[in-house]
Amino acid sequence: MSTQIPKQTEESSETEAETQPASKGEERRAEKRRRAAERREQRQEEEAEKAAADDSTVELKVFRYDPQVEGKQEPRFDTFHVPFTKGMTVLDALMYARDTYDSSLTFRHSCRQAVCGSDAMFVNGGQKLACKTQISDLEEPIRVEPLPHAEVTKDLVVDMEHFYEQMEAVEPYFQTDEYPDGELEEQRQDRENREKIKMSTRCIWCGACMSSCNIAAGDNEYLGPAAINKAYRFAMDEREGEEMKQKRLEIIEQEHGVWRCQTQFSCTEVCPKDIPLTEHIQELKREAVKNNLKFW
C-alpha cells in the first residue's frame, strides 16, 4: 500500500477551493486545476499499484508525525514501494517517495555526498547517513525512523538544538597567543601532528554518535562524543600551545565530560566518517590524568 496525504485535510482544502471562485475565468482555471489534480492522483495510484506488484521494488516503512496535521499527530508508519535502481541509496528512495507519492514526506538532506551531515536517521535499527546507505545492503522492509534520543520535529526531522549547544560548549574554535612575526607567515605544523588531528577534523555534525550513546540518553548534560571529539581536535593541535591545552583539558574533565564515557564504542560504530571517537575520548582521559599528576 502506498500512502497519500491524510484524507481529511484533502477534503477540507477541496471545499475551500470550491467556495472561492467568483469570475468565469477563475472558475475555468479552478476546473482545470481540479482535473489536473485528479489526473495526478490517478497517475500516482497507478504508479503505486505498478510498484507494489513489481518484484524490483523496495518496501520502506517510514515514520510519520506532524504535531499540526490531523491524522499525523499520532505517530504512525507509512509504507512506500519504490522502484529499485542500481546504486540506489535510502535518500534516493525517500526522495522518490516524496516526489512521486507524498510531497509532505519530510526529511533534511542537501549535499547527497556525506559531507553536509543533514540526513542522519535510524535505518533498520541503526544510525546511518541516508545518502551513503545502499538499499542493496539492507533487509526489507526497510524501516526508516528519526534519530532516537532527540525530539522529533516532524517525520524524520529531529530538533538539533541540543546537539549544537553541546558542540558549542567546548569552545570549538582555535585559540593561541603566539603567531609568527611576518604577516604572510603561516604557523608551522609538522605532518605528524596534522595526521594526529586529521580524523577528528572530519566530523560533519550529523549527530549519529550522540543518538547512539546510552550515556547521552541518560544524562542530558553529557557533552557527548561529537563535542568531546571537537575538543580533542584542538587539544591535540600543537599550534595552540601548552597553556591552551591545560584549559581544554579542564573543559573536558568537567562533571559531564570525558569521565562519563563508559567505552561502549557505539559512537565509533555508527560514525559515518569513521572517526575513532571512543579512542579519542580515552586518549583525552589519559591526557587529563597525566596532566593532573603533573600538578599534584
Binding site: T153, K154, P172
Partner: protein
C-alpha cells in the same frame, strides 16, 4: 521585526567571511540561512585554494592565468583583487586553525591545478571546503555572531522607484522553517547575498539539493541585472550515476584520463598537447564528450580516470576522500581500478552583477561568492579559484557594507557608461506569465521609509505562502524536473540554436504550469514542500535567463560553445551579457569587459593548453 546593521543571507564560505568582516568593522551582524551553516555546500569543495604564497610565484602570474582561463571575460580590477588578497586570506585561515596539508618543513602544501603556471593550490587533503567551512563557522561561534538557521529568505525588501539604480534595499523577509513564522529583517547598513550556486537548474550536477540560486533570482526580480548567466562550468570529472565530484586534485597529483580504447586522449587526440589532463576545465569536458560522441566512450557514457599509479601512500595522504566518494557513490575502488567519470554541471560563472566591492546597482544590496559576478571568472573558472573568491569578496562586501572606506570602484554597475541594448529577437515569449507571480516592484506610490518597505515585503510574502498552502493545484516537483531535463539535454556542454530555442519553449510551458502550483502539505511545521515550491520559481527565472544569454551569444568563448559559431569573436563579443527583469519583461543588454588592470592591460590572446 528583527533589526541589525548588516544582514547576510546564506552561511557558506562567502557568507561566513562577510559576517566576520562586517563584525570586525563594528557592525551588528546577523546571518540568515535556510540551512545550518555547517550544512552549506562550501563543505563539498575538494581541491583547494589558489594563492601566490611563495617567492617564486606572484599575484601577477596568478592574475594572468585567471584572465587567460576566463577567456578574457574577467574584469581586471576584480581578478587582480582576488590574486592580490588571496595570500593574506589563506594565511588568515591558517591562523584561525584550518588544518591544511603540510610539507616536511611544516609549511602549507601547494599542488598543481588546471590552467595554472605554478603549483599554487593550497589544500587540506581532498576536503578543503569542509575544513574551510568549519574553520570559519568556528570563528562565527567565537565572535557570537547571531545566526538564524533554517530560515528561508523569500524576498528582498527594496523600494520601488522606476529606475533600479535609484532603489534602496532595507532588509529581507524570511520564513522560519521550524515554525512557519514569517518575519522581516531590517538591515540599516546593508544586505549581503551569499546564497551560492544554482546547480539545481540542471539534473546532473555536483551541487547540493539546496543550491537553487535563490539570491540571484531575488536580486533579479528586485531589479539587479544578472550577468553572464550563459557561462556554466561543467566539471570534467563527476561520477556518472550521481554527479558527485571527483576533485581536479586527482589530475593535479598526476591522474590520467583514458577512453575505451585505453588511449590517453587529451594528448593522443590532440585536445591539449602541452597540458593534457591539466588543461582548463572547459577544454577537458569538451574533450571527454567528444570521445563519447565519437564512439570511444565507455558504455557510451563516460571515460576513465586512473590514479592507481600514484601509489597507495600518496593517494591516502592527499586524496583519501576521493577513495571514499568513489566507493560509496559509484562502487569503484580507486586503488585497484580506474574510476568512471563524465562532465557534470559544477559552477555558475555568472550571477548577480556587482563591482569589485560586492556592491550591486541597488543601494545597500551586496553579493559575494558563487551567486555574484564581479566578474572574476569570466567565461570559465579555473580550478582552485572559487574558494579564494569566497574569502576575498566575502571580506570586501562585509567591510563595505559595515561602512569602511574602500575608495572608488572601477567596475561600473547598472546601465552606466558604455552599455548597449541587444538586438536579438527571441522567438518565444519570456518573463512573467501573469497570475501568481512574485514581482518585487509593482509600480504605484513610492514607499521609501525602511519600516514600510520591509513591512510591505512581509505582507506580500505572507499572502503568497497563505495562497500556496490553501489552494489546490500541481506539485512543483514535476515542473522542476521538466526544467532540469530540458536544461541538461539542450543547454549543456554543446549548444545548438534550434535546441536552445526548444528549451525556451519548454521553459515557457513550465512557467505556465507553475501558475497552477500548490503545496499539498498543509503544515506550518517544517514544510519542505512549501520551501521547494518557492525554490522552483527561482529555478525557472534562472533557467530562462541562462538560455536567453546562451542563444544571443553567437560565439564560442570559454565554457560557452555554439555549434553554429565555432570561434571567439573579440570584435563583437568582448562584452558581458546582462539581463534585467524589468518588472516581468526581461531585457537583454551588454557592457564592455574591463581589461585594464592596475599596471597593465590584458590583451586577448588565443587560448591553448
Amino acid at each position: 521585526m528583527h533589526e541589525h546593521d548588516v544582514v547576510v543571507v546564506g552561511a557558506g564560505g562567502a557568507g561566513l567571511r562577510a559576517a566576520i568582516a562586517a563584525q570586525e568593522a563594528g557592525a551588528d551582524v546577523a546571518m540568515v540561512s535556510k540551512l545550518h551553516p555547517v550544512r552549506s555546500h562550501t563543505g563539498a569543495a575538494e581541491g583547494g585554494i589558489n594563492a601566490a604564497l611563495r617567492d617564486a610565484d606572484s599575484w601577477q602570474d596568478h592574475a594572468y592565468d585567471t584572465m587567460k582561463g576566463s577567456d578574457y571575460l574577467g574584469d581586471a580590477p576584480a581578478v587582480e583583487a582576488l590574486c592580490q588578497e588571496s595570500p593574506e586570506e589563506v594565511i588568515r585561515l591558517e591562523h584561525w586553525g584550518m588544518p591544511f596539508s603540510r610539507e616536511d618543513d611544516g609549511r602549507v602544501s601547494q599542488r598543481p591545478f588546471g590552467g595554472l603556471s605554478f603549483p599554487r593550490t593550497t589544500y587540506a587533503g581532498a576536503e578543503t571546503g569542509h575544513q574551510m567551512l568549519h574553520t570559519m563557522y568556528e570563528q562565527v561561534v567565537k565572535r557570537g555572531i547571531t545566526v538564524y538557521d533554517e530560515w528561508h529568505v523569500m524576498d528582498l525588501a527594496v523600494t520601488d522607484e522606476d529606475d533600479p539604480a535609484e532603489r534602496t534595499c532595507h532588509g529581507v523577509v524570511a520564513y522560519d522553517i521550524q515554525s512557519g513564522e514569517i518575519s522581516g529583517f531590517r538591515a540599516s547598513d546593508g544586505v549581503i547575498l551569499a546564497t551560492g550556486g544554482m546547480g539545481q537548474v540542471f539534473d546532473h550536477t555536483t551541487n547540493a539539493v539546496a543550491n537553487t540560486g535563490d539570491g540571484v533570482a531575488m536580486a533579479y526580480r528586485a531589479g539587479v541585472p544578472m550577468e553572464d548567466m550563459e557561462f556554466i562550468q561543467f566539471h570534467p570529472t563527476t561520477l556518472p550515476s550521481t554527479g558527485v565530484l571527483i576533485s581536479e586534485g586527482v589530475r593535479g597529483e598526476g591522474g590520467i584520463l583514458y577512453n575505451e580504447d585505453g588511449e590517453r586522449f587529451m594528448f593522443e587526440h590532440g585536445y591539449a598537447n602541452n597540458d593534457g589532463e591539466l588543461a582548463s576545465r572547459d577544454v577537458v569536458s569538451r574533450a571527454e564528450l567528444t570521445e563519447v560522441n565519437e564512439g570511444r566512450g565507455i558504455e557510451d557514457e563516460y571515460v576513465h580516470l586512473d590514479m592507481r599509479h600514484l601509489g597507495e601512500e600518496r593517494i591516502l595522504d592527499r586524496l583519501e576522500n576521493i577513495l571514499h566518494l568513489a566507493e560509496d557513490f559509484e562502487g569503484a575502488d580507486g586503488l585497484t581500478e580506474p574510476m568512471p567519470v563524465k562532465p557534470g554541471q559544477h559552477y555558475a560563472m555568472g550571477g548577480i552583477e556587482t563591482n569589485e566591492f560586492g556592491e550591486t546597482v541597488i543601494d545597500g544590496l551586496y553579493a559575494a561568492g558563487e551567486c555574484a559576478c564581479a566578474s572574476v571568472h569570466g567565461a570559465n573558472r579555473l580550478g582552485g579559484n572559487a574558494l579564494p573568491e569566497l574569502i576575498v569578496f566575502g571580506k570586501r562586501a562585509g567591510r563595505h557594507a559595515a561602512g569602511e572606506e574602500m575608495g572608488e570602484a572601477e567596475i561600473e554597475t547598472g546601465r552606466s557608461g558604455n552599455w548597449q541594448p541587444a538586438d536579438y529577437e527571441f522567438g518565444v515569449e519570456v518573463g512573467e506569465t501573469g497570475g501568481s507571480g512574485a514581482a518585487a516592484a509593482d509600480g504605484g506610490a513610492v514607499v521609501s521609509d525602511a519600516e514600510s518597505v520591509v513591512g510591505g515585503a512581509v505582507d506580500r510574502a505572507q499572502e503568497r505562502v497563505d495562497e500556496l498552502l490553501s489552494r489546490k493545484g500541481r506539485n512543483h516537483a514535476e515542473i522542476r524536473s521538466a526544467v532540469q531535463e530540458t536544461m541538461t539535454a539542450n543547454v549543456n556542454v554543446f549548444r545548438e540554436e534550434g535546441r536552445l530555442e526548444e528549451t525556451l519553449e519548454d521553459l515557457r510551458e513550465a512557467r505556465e504550469a507553475y501558475k497552477d502550483v500548490a503545496v499539498s502539505d498543509p503544515s506550518r511545521t517544517f514544510n519542505t514542500d512549501l520551501i521547494h515550491t518557492i525554490e522552483t520559481r527561482n529555478i525557472l527565472d534562472l533557467a530562462e535567463a541562462l538560455t536567453m544569454g546562451a542563444l544571443a551569444r553567437e560565439e564560442f568563448r570559454g565554457a560557452h560553445w555554439r555549434k553554429e559559431h565555432q570561434e571567439r569573436k573579440d570584435e563583437d563579443w568582448l562584452k558581458h551579457t546582462l539581463i534585467s527583469w524589468n518588472d516581468g519583461e526581461p531585457e537583454l543588454w551588454y557592457k564592455p569587459v574591463v581589461l585594464e588592470g592596475e599596471n597593465k592591460t590584458y590583451e586577448p590572446k588565443s587560448r591553448s593548453y
